[in-house]
Amino acid sequence: MDPKGKSLLSSWAPIFRIIILSLICTLSVLIRIFSVIPIKVIRFESIIHEFDPWFNFRTTKYLTEKGVYAFWDWFDSESWFPLGRAVGGTIYPGIMLTAGSIHSILNTLGFPIDIRNVCVFLAPGFAALTSLAGYFLTKEVTGRSEAGLYAALFIGIVPSYISRSVAGSYDNEGVAIFALVFTFYLYIKSVNTGSLLWSAAASLSFFYMVAAWGGYAFIINIIPIFVVVNVLIGKFTTNLYVSYCSFYILGSLLAMQIPFVGTQVVTSSEHLASHAVFIFLQIYVLGNWVKSQAGEDKFKIFIKIIIGMLVLLLIAASLYMTLSGKMKWSGRSLSLLDPTYAKRFIPIIASVSEHQPTTWASFFFDLHYLAVFAPAGLYYCLTESNPGKLFIAGYGVLAVYFACVMVRLLLVLAPAVCILSAIGLSETLYRFTRHIKNFRQWYTYKFNPEENTPKPKYGYPLELTIIVIGIIGAISVLYINHCVWVAAEAYSSPTVIMASKGYDGERKIIDDYREAYYWLRMNTAQDARIMSWWDYGYQITGFSNRTVLVDNNTWNNTHIATIGMIFASNEEVAAKNLRKLDAEYVLVIFGGVSYYSGDDINKFLWMVRIAAGVFPQIKEENYLNRGQYRIDSGMTETMKNSLMYRLSYYRFGEIMGHNRMMGYDVVRRAEIGDKNIKLRQFREVFTSEHWIVRIFKVLPEENRDGLKAKSGFSKKYSEMKDLGLVRSKLS
C-alpha cells in the first residue's frame, strides 16, 4: 500500500464529512417544508398547523409586541372564561423565547421578517440542528464518524420526528428533541472526559430542555438510572461522580428558574430518582473511603449489617405508610404500573388520541426499517461497551417501553432507534469495506504469489461483500423513499386546511375552519364569548381573537366537564347554563356532509364520559342504545334531545346526500333519526361552505319565562289587598 495515497484520502475526509453533514442538514430542512414552499410543490401556504401551535404562536406574538416582562406577567382573560389563565406561570416558554430572540436578532441585522414566518420555519431549522447533535452524540459514543453520519441522516428524516416538526408545526417538541439529544451528547462528553466544563454545558442544555418541554422528566430520570447501573455493575469512576454531581446540582438549580417547574424540583416524584441517586453516590464514595481506611474484611461485615437493617427499615416504613394511608400511589405512577388506570379513571387523558397505546403498525410507520436494525445496534452497544454505548442502550430500552404506553412518546424513542441502527449498520459497513480495501492484497496473494507477500489479514469473497454493501445501500434508499413519502403525504397537512383528492387526482381545498374563524372575527362583538369543545379553543383565540370558555390547556377538569354537560343536556338546560356562563355563541364541528370524520358527533361520547365524572345526572348508557352509539332512528331519546345532536343536525334533513337520501350522514353512514329539528333557544348564524363549522347564537331569555305573569300577578294582588290598597269587589 502506498502510504502517501492513504494519507491524502484521509486528509480529505473532514471535507467530505462537512459536505455530507451540510447535505444532510439541507435535506432535513427541505423534507419538512413540503407544505409551504412553492419551489415545485405547492401544497398549502405558510401557516401555523394544528391546535397547540396556535397558542404558542399567539404567545410569541404577544412576546414580540409587549416584551419579555409583560410576557411573564401576562394574565390571559381571553381563555377559560370566566376564570382566565396566568399564562406566564403555566407554560414552557422555551420555544416562544427562541422564536422571539431569532426574530429580534434578524430585525436588528436588517432582515424585516414577519414573526409568523419565524415560527413556521423554526421547527425545520431545529431539525437540522438535531441531526448535527445526533452526529456528535454517535461519534462521541462510537468514536467513528461514519456511524455519526448515518445517525445524522436517520435522525434528520425519521418520520416520527417529521410528524412534530414540519414547517408550521410550531410546537414544543420541535425544539425539545434537539435539546434532548444535545444534552445527552454533552453529558456523555462530560462522563468521558470528567471535565466540569462539559457537565456545566450539559446542565445548561438541560435548562433549555426544561424551558422547552415537560418531557425533560425523561432526562432527569434516565441519567440517574444510568449512573446507578454503572455503579451496580462495578464501573464506577471518578469521571462519573464528577459529571453526575455537577450536572445534578446545576441542573436542578437551573430547572427551578422556570416558573412552571419551580419548587416541583423538590416536591414532585418525577425528580425523586435524581435526589436519591445523588445521596446514594455520596454514601457510596464515603463507603469506599471507609473501606480504604478499615480494610476489606471488617468492611464487609459492616456493610452487611447496614444493608440488612436498611432493608428491614424500608419494608417496615413503607408498610406503615401504606397502612396508615399516608403514602398514596399517585395517578401517574399507577398509570405506568397499570396502563389501564387512565382509561378507567381519567377520561380526559384517555380521550386524547396521542395518549393512546401504540400498535406495531405505528412503530413500523414511524421508524420504518430502523426498527429492524435497532437490536443489532443494541448488541454492539452491550458487547463492545463503554459508558456512552451503555447509555444509548439504556436510553433505547427505556424509551421503547414509554413509546409502547403512549403514541406521542415515539418521538423520544426515535433518536435512540436512529442511533442504535446507525451503530448496527455502520458496524456492518465497517467490517465489509475492509475486505474491498484488502481485496487487491488478497488477490495478489492468491493468484500471483510472490515470495515476500504477507498473508492478508482478511479474506472474504468479493461478490458477497458487494452484495452486502449493495443491500445496505438499497435499504437506506428504501428508508429515504418511505420518509419522503410520509413527509409529503401523511404529515404535511395543516389540519385547519384540508385537501382531498378527486378520482382524477385533482385537489379540492376545504377551507371551512378559516372561513368560520374569519366570520367570527368580523361579525361578532370584540368581547363575545364562544363556547366550543376544548379542541378548538386555541384556534378560536388565535384566528378570531375572541374569548373562549375552554381550550387545549386542559387544566380545569370541572370547567371542561361543564361544557360536556351542556352539550349533553337538552336545549332548555343547556341554554340556562350557557346564560349563566355568559356565553353568546356555540360552535360545533360537523362532518356529516363532507366526509370529515374527526367531528364533534364522533367525539361526543368522550364529552359525555368527561361530564359524567362530575355531573351525576349525565349517564353514558342513556346515550347508547344496547351498547351501540347511534344517530339514526334507533337512537335513544336522551341522545335525540342532546344539544350536540340538535345543533349538528339542525336543518340537515333538508339536504340531499348520498344515494338521493335526505339527511344521510356520510361519516356515520346512516340516515339521521330526527330530520325536523326546531331550535327553541338557539339561532343558526353561520354555517361554512362544507358544513364543517356551524355557529349558533344563544337567544336571550324570553320575557314570559322570566316574569311568570300569572302567579306573580296574583301574589302581588293579594299582597296589595292585604295592605288595603285594593278594594275587594264585595265590599
Partner: protein, 352 residues
Amino acid sequence: MVRLFLLICCLGVVMKVQCQEQQTKVETLLELSKTHDVISLTAETFKKYVVDQSRQYIIVVFFSSYMYKSQCPGCQALEPIFNEIAYSYKALGHTKPKDQNENKAKPVFFAFLDYGQETQIIYQKFGFSNIPNIYVSTKSFTEETTSYSIDRSKLWEYRDGQEITSNKILDFINKKTERDVTIQKSLLQTILPISIVLTILILIFALVYFIKHNFTSPKLWWFGCTIIYITCMAGVVYDIIHSSSLIGTNPQTGEDEFIAQGPRSQYILEGFLMSFLISLGSLGLILLNSTANYKNSWLMRLIGIFSIALILYSIYQVSFAYKNKVSWYTPSFDPPSHYKKGGLIADQGNSF
C-alpha cells in the same frame, strides 16, 4: 273479657314466636356472614330468608351463574365488585342489628343465588331474561304462581353492552339501603401493591446475587433487552387496554383473520409475530457481521448467504404485512400516472 284476654295472649305468643323467629333468622344470617361475605342461597333458603314473612333485615341478592360464567362477561365483571361491596358493608359494621324498625339501621346481608335446575323457577318468577341481576330486598314479598310482587325500582338488571363499574353498583345499593358506604379495601388488597413492588425488588436482588458471575455477561443483557424490545414493539399495552383477541374474524366472510385492518388496531398474535419478524432482521445482521471476521471458508460463505436471506425475508415480510394492513400505504417517488402534472397553476401539487 276473658276471650279478649285470651286473644291478646294468643297474639302475644304468636308475636313472641314471630319475634323469636326473626331473631333466629338474623342470628343465623349473622353467623353465616361471619365466615362468608356473600351467603350462598339455595331455593329453600331463598324462600326462607328472602321471600318469607317476618324479618327485620335487608338482603341484597346477586343473581348469577357459576356454570355459565365464562359465556357471560357481565357476571365476570360484577362478581368481584359485588364481593367488594359486601366486604365493605361488613367491615363498616352494617351487618350488625341495631334498630330493626328503621330501614337505615337494619342489618344488611349479601347473598348469591346460583342459576340451576332448582332455582330456575325463581329466575322465571323474577322475569329475568339475562344475568347478572341484583335485587335489594328491604321487605318480604308474596309469591304468586307466575311472579313475585316485588318492588321493581329496587331491581338492577343487566343490559347487553352496559359498562359495569363499582361506583355505579355501589351507588345503586347505597341508595336502596339508605346508607352511605364507601368501598373498603381489605387488608390484603392494601398491602398487595406494596408487597408486589417489594417482592419484585427482592427477586431482582436475589437474581443479581445468584447470577453475579454471569451478571456482567453482555450477551445475557442483550438477550434481556431484546425481549423487552420485542414485547414493547408488539404493542402489549395496546392489547391489554383494548383487550384484543389472539386472532380475529373477518366481519364479511367470517373466516379467521390474522391481520387487523387499519394501523390503529391489531391482534395479539399479529403484534408478536411482526415484532419478532422485525427483530429477526437484526439477528441476521449480527450473524452476517460475525462472519466477516473469519477466514474465507464454505461454511462462512453459507452462513453469510443465510443471514442475508434472513435480513431480506424480515424486511420483505414486514413491509408486505404493513401494505396489506394499511391500504393507502403506497410509498413511491413518483405520483401515479393518471395525476395531472404541469406548471404552477395546472399542477395540483402532485409532482415532485
